[in-house]
């Protein structure tokens, strides 16, 4: 039960948020031109990093805004949250 920092609402209980998986996986520009394999990569394959992971979160029970976070999947600690219009932070 951790607190997650919504970039807008501030820290809220974990239960107010829903998880959106890996961040920075853009929808392909022209899906029709992709091979089946390339398309499958987009549809089904996501990184499953152990450690620092850039991922999407949704403050679903609050302001309903999506945002991104850098979180450690081993410790669960959030290192950074950032808005969708902010670049992925450079992490050491």
């Amino acid at each position: 039960m951790q607190l997650i920092e919504c970039p807008w609402c501030g820290p809220r209980e974990e239960v107010e948020f829903s998880y959106g998986g890996q961040a920075h996986v853009p929808y392909p520009d022209t899906p029709g031109e992709l091979t089946d394999e390339e398309w499958a990569r987009y549809v089904f394959f996501r990184d499953n990093t152990r450690g620092r992971f850039a991922e999407r979160w949704h403050h679903s029970a609050g302001c309903r805004r999506w945002f991104n976070a850098i979180r450690d999947t081993a410790t669960y600690r959030f290192e950074r949250v950032y808005r969708l219009d902010e670049p992925r932070p450079v992490t050491p």
Partner: protein
């Protein structure tokens, strides 16, 4: 029954009040302030139960939650399994008995209330002993918001069970003053009888408050029996004290064998003499206090057996003064007695070798092997533990953000040190929170203590009894012994986790509070490795057991999950509707008339809609208002069909797919303006589709100028369905030209009814002429009743979801989630017409081109007509090929698909079904078979539209 072991005076019990209780069928008395254990000890009873596997007598061995011996079952006031006699507060009328191993649940539901509360503080202090109180006072004096929780019935911690002095007065006077001062701070929450049982991220601590049990049958019914506090603290101070550690020796489980500190507690706190003739076996100085205090209370202390070669030079003199023999360099190697210890077998001990034993008569054998700091909450918060060679225990090995450990829990074992440490830790916590400590923050003065002699770390005494460790108990609750650990090591096990599983040590009610560190030590000794390398098993929540009902709290019965209802709900109830759960919604399934079963009611409702007029409460349909210059662009990307070409005033059916090309929802879209749409989703899909749209709009296409707003509860929706629906709508909304020419199918019109805006739409989910009425729910009941009134001459019939399903199935309209299961594409549903070929892309499009989507044997939605014209195929039935001999082949039998929907049709005067069938559309006209109750029912495959395939009826 008398209480022969009760002292004449002293203790923190209310001697003026007598409580009566029953244990193992015998009636005893005690006083408020007693626990079941202290009252039984006062009566001279040590044995509480027999052990789980070996059936050996077991008694009270500690004074609180670490007790491995005294398991009881409570029967009155309400059955509760497996509690410790040491933690059950005595109440009048309590009935309990000893438990050999398994508890018993009540046979009826528990009527007590339970609840949970969120609470936020700057500083949470866990434990109201000297360190905790010092910390809480420092924090409170700064003006910070503070919570102090403690598991005992009153504050004081170790001071409750001792005779310490502070400021030249009994230490409990300082405790009382501290409690009073805390009570005077408005921002302090002080809870006793409250056990912090779980420590999580970001200062989140769960604590269980036992609110009414001590009141017995007088407990107020409207107050929760137990409360789970969800404490969120910016800083947590763990001051949970330490558990005394036993030393293992042969037959160390005889009732009357007790931790030394526990005996002190029973004496000082409860006014109970745990025996008359004691032997004290120790490896450290703390047990000398027990020997001297018991001596002072009149107990004959036969010997202090000190395993250290020189014993305690510091304590020798006091013992000599009291006439207590001290045997340095000696150990207890065993005991005699069955239901009660009668002798301690004492032997010389040097360099790990045991000499010849001689018995010393006693009825009380006190043991102390040192102290294990209660690091549970620290470890649960993922703090690293390090083994301390001097203490023979694991200590917090790192600083954690926002959580600090103080006092005995941090290995500080003297009173003055605990006070100073508590204050220090609280000040550090305040400093981290940028809170200024108060100027006046005085600590009481503790008398100077002699520096104790160094303790000896001794896990076990070599077994000279011949039993080879099989009676040297490590975990009394699991009957697990030194021999079991040795066997595990011999079996090839090295990990402490394997040892635990092999021996089951630490898995019982006490979760290894006394046995855990012993096991690590003994295992390390047997393997010849450092204790640090062996480590401990993981400390997991809860610290002490918590009743399921306490965690369920108030989320039970009606409040288990919200019931969502429409504005018409009360009307439906009065009308006698039978309800169906659809997600969280309660929807009328049908409205039986007296004497009708569901089949009869549904046939009647269907006939009304097909031949006259019916009305449905469709308000649960999800509704989303989509606005903005780019609204049509967003919808074109999300629906499989083209939405941007829809004209204002018109309605279009649309399908949405996931990126995998599978249908996720369907519904109608009303174009309200160039830049505004109203989307109707399925009842179950409403929240999911809003989430889906916002996710795409926010995360992928933030450049689109479009906003989505849920308006599900902003509109009630009443489909008025059937050939006479035009008459009804025309009568209620006279300003609207309801003719087919003026108001064609798949269009909508706004009107005003008595000043209230109403929207009408020509949408049909039944194939009949139909109008959907949309209005603000404030006026929902009134408009519904107007429609009923106007429909009365036409026999207007309210119908429920079952009839809705029959009507739509007769038309082959699928229900997403019933006729689909996440593996079905629009093409599979025969809805290629709803998939745009013009749009370059939409969500799901690319997936349609995958190889598996080209398989001609994909399952497709078709109709099924049972050939006998009688059988209603059970929904979910499987469909198989027919064998030449008319029987099924042996398993596995190839399956062609399954029945997704199946009903009796009033219109067709026969049952029919929808089904997903492999290559279904190419099988139209074929006969397939459906196993039903052991028989094979022949079915004819048909197109999915069985009623009015030409669509002649929708315009009336």
């Amino acid at each position: 029954m008398t209480s022969p072991f009760r002292t004449a005076e002293g203790g923190r019990i209310d001697r003026a009040t007598t409580l009566e209780f029953t244990f193992d069928g015998q009636t005893h008395t005690g006083h408020p302030g007693d626990t079941l254990a202290s009252a039984l000890l006062a009566a001279g009873r040590h044995q509480i139960a027999t052990s789980i596997a070996l059936g050996r007598p077991r008694g009270v061995a500690a004074a609180w939650a670490e007790d491995p011996g005294g398991l009881v079952q409570v029967e009155e006031p309400f059955p509760e399994p497996m509690l410790l006699a040491t933690t059950v507060e005595l109440s009048d009328g309590l009935v309990a008995h000893g438990l050999p191993g398994q508890g018993r649940l009540a046979e009826v539901a528990d009527s007590a209330r339970y609840d949970g509360v969120h609470h936020h503080v700057d500083v949470l202090v866990v434990g109201a002993g000297p360190a905790g109180l010092a910390a809480a006072l420092t924090a409170a004096r700064s003006g910070a918001r503070v919570a102090l929780v403690d598991e005992q019935s009153e504050a004081g911690g170790s001071l409750l069970g001792g005779a310490d002095r502070l400021d030249d007065a009994p230490a409990m006077r300082w405790v009382a003053a501290a409690v009073a001062e805390l009570a005077a701070h408005p921002e302090v929450l002080h809870l006793q009888r409250t056990t912090a049982f779980g420590s999580y991220d970001d200062g989140f601590v769960l604590a269980l408050e036992r609110r009414t049990d001590h009141l017995g049958t007088a407990a107020p019914k409207q107050v929760s029996r137990q409360r789970v506090w969800r404490l969120r603290a910016r800083s947590v101070v763990v001051a949970t004290g330490a558990h005394e550690r036993p030393v293992v020796f042969a037959d160390n489980d005889r009732p009357g064998t007790m931790l030394a500190g526990a005996a002190r507690t029973f004496l000082h706190r409860y006014g109970v003499l745990p025996g008359r003739q004691a032997v004290v076996f120790t490896t450290n100085d703390s047990a000398y206090d027990a020997a001297l205090d018991l001596h002072g209370a009149g107990v004959r202390v036969e010997a202090v057996v000190d395993a250290r070669p020189a014993g305690s030079p510091q304590r020798r003199e006091a013992c000599e003064r009291a006439g207590i023999p001290v045997l340095p360099g000696a150990v207890v190697v065993g005991t005699r007695g069955v239901e009660r210890v009668t002798h301690a077998l004492v032997a010389p001990f040097a360099d790990g070798e045991v000499g010849a034993a001689s018995p010393i008569a006693c009825d009380l054998l006190l043991v102390s092997g040192g102290w294990n700091p209660a690091v549970h909450l620290f470890s649960q918060a993922r703090g690293r533990l390090v083994y301390d060679e001097t203490l023979g225990a694991f200590l917090p090995g790192e600083e954690l953000d926002g959580l600090s450990v103080t006092g005995a829990a941090a290995g500080v074992l003297d009173l003055a040190g605990c006070l100073v440490d508590g204050q220090r830790v609280a000040r550090a916590a305040l400093s981290a929170l940028a809170v200024e400590p108060a100027g006046e923050d005085r600590l009481p003065t503790a008398p100077e203590e002699v520096v104790p002699a160094a303790p000896l770390v001794l896990w076990r005494v070599p077994d000279t009894s011949g039993a080879e460790g099989t009676t040297s108990f490590v975990d009394l609750q699991r009957d697990a012994t030194v021999a079991d650990i040795a066997r595990a090591v011999g079996a090839g096990l090295r990990s402490i986790e394997h040892i635990k599983r092999y021996t089951t040590i630490g898995t019982a009610h006490d979760q290894g509070k006394t046995s855990g560190v012993l096991t690590s030590g003994i295992t390390a000794e047997l393997l010849g490795v450092p204790v640090q390398d062996t480590g401990t098993t993981t400390f997991r929540p809860p610290y002490t057991p918590v009743a399921f009902a306490a965690l369920a709290g108030r989320d039970r019965g009606r409040l288990f999950d919200p019931e969502r209802v429409t504005a018409l709900h009360d009307w439906h109830v009065v009308a006698g509707a039978v309800f169906e759960d659809v997600g969280q919604w309660k929807r009328p399934r049908y409205y039986p008339r007296p004497g009708e079963d569901m089949a009869a009611a549904v046939l009647r409702e269907c006939a009304a809609a097909r031949t006259g007029v019916g009305i449905l409460d469709g308000s649960t349909l999800g509704k989303i208002d989509v606005q903005g210059p780019d609204a049509a662009v967003l919808l074109d990307r999300l629906y499989t069909n083209m939405i941007s070409s829809l004209k204002v005033g018109s309605v279009r059916y649309g399908v949405m797919c996931g990126v995998d090309g599978m249908v996720i929802d369907d519904g109608t879209v009303l174009r309200l303006a160039e830049d505004r749409f109203l989307l109707l989703t399925t009842t179950g899909g409403a929240a999911k589709i809003l989430d889906w749209m916002e996710e795409w709009a926010q995360t992928e296409w933030p450049d689109l100028r479009v906003h989505c707003t849920s308006v599900t509860e902003q509109w009630v929706t009443f489909p008025v369905v059937g050939p006479r629906s035009r008459d009804v709508i025309g009568a209620v909304f006279p300003q609207v030209d309801v003719s087919n020419e003026a108001f064609p199918f798949m269009t909508w019109r706004d009107t005003i009814l008595d000043g209230v805006p109403v929207r009408l739409a020509r949408i049909s989910f039944s194939g009949e002429l139909a109008f959907e009425v949309y209005v603000n729910p404030w006026y929902g009941v009134a408009v519904w009743e107007r429609l009923l009134e106007a429909g009365r001459p036409h026999g207007i019939t309210p119908y429920g979801t079952e009839t809705m399903h029959v009507l739509r199935a007769e038309k082959g309209y699928p229900i997403i989630g019933q006729d689909t299961d996440g593996t079905v594409t629009p093409h599979d549903l025969g809805m290629a017409w709803a998939v745009s070929k013009k749009k370059p892309d939409f969500i799901g499009k690319r997936s349609f081109a995958r190889p598996a989507n080209q398989d001609p044997l994909r399952k497709q939605l078709v109709g099924l007509l049972p050939v006998d014209g009688q059988t209603v195929l059970p929904e979910g039935s499987q469909i198989v090929d027919f064998l030449a001999d008319g029987r099924l082949p042996p398993p596995p039998v190839p399956m062609l698909g399954h029945v997704t929907s199946s009903y009796r049709s009033a219109e067709l005067a026969r049952p029919f079904a929808l089904a997903l069938v492999k290559g279904g559309r190419s099988r139209i006209g074929d006969t397939l078979h459906v196993p039903v109750d052991g028989a094979l029912v022949p079915v004819e495959v048909t197109g999915s539209v069985l009623v009015d395939p030409e669509g002649a009826r929708r315009d009336g």
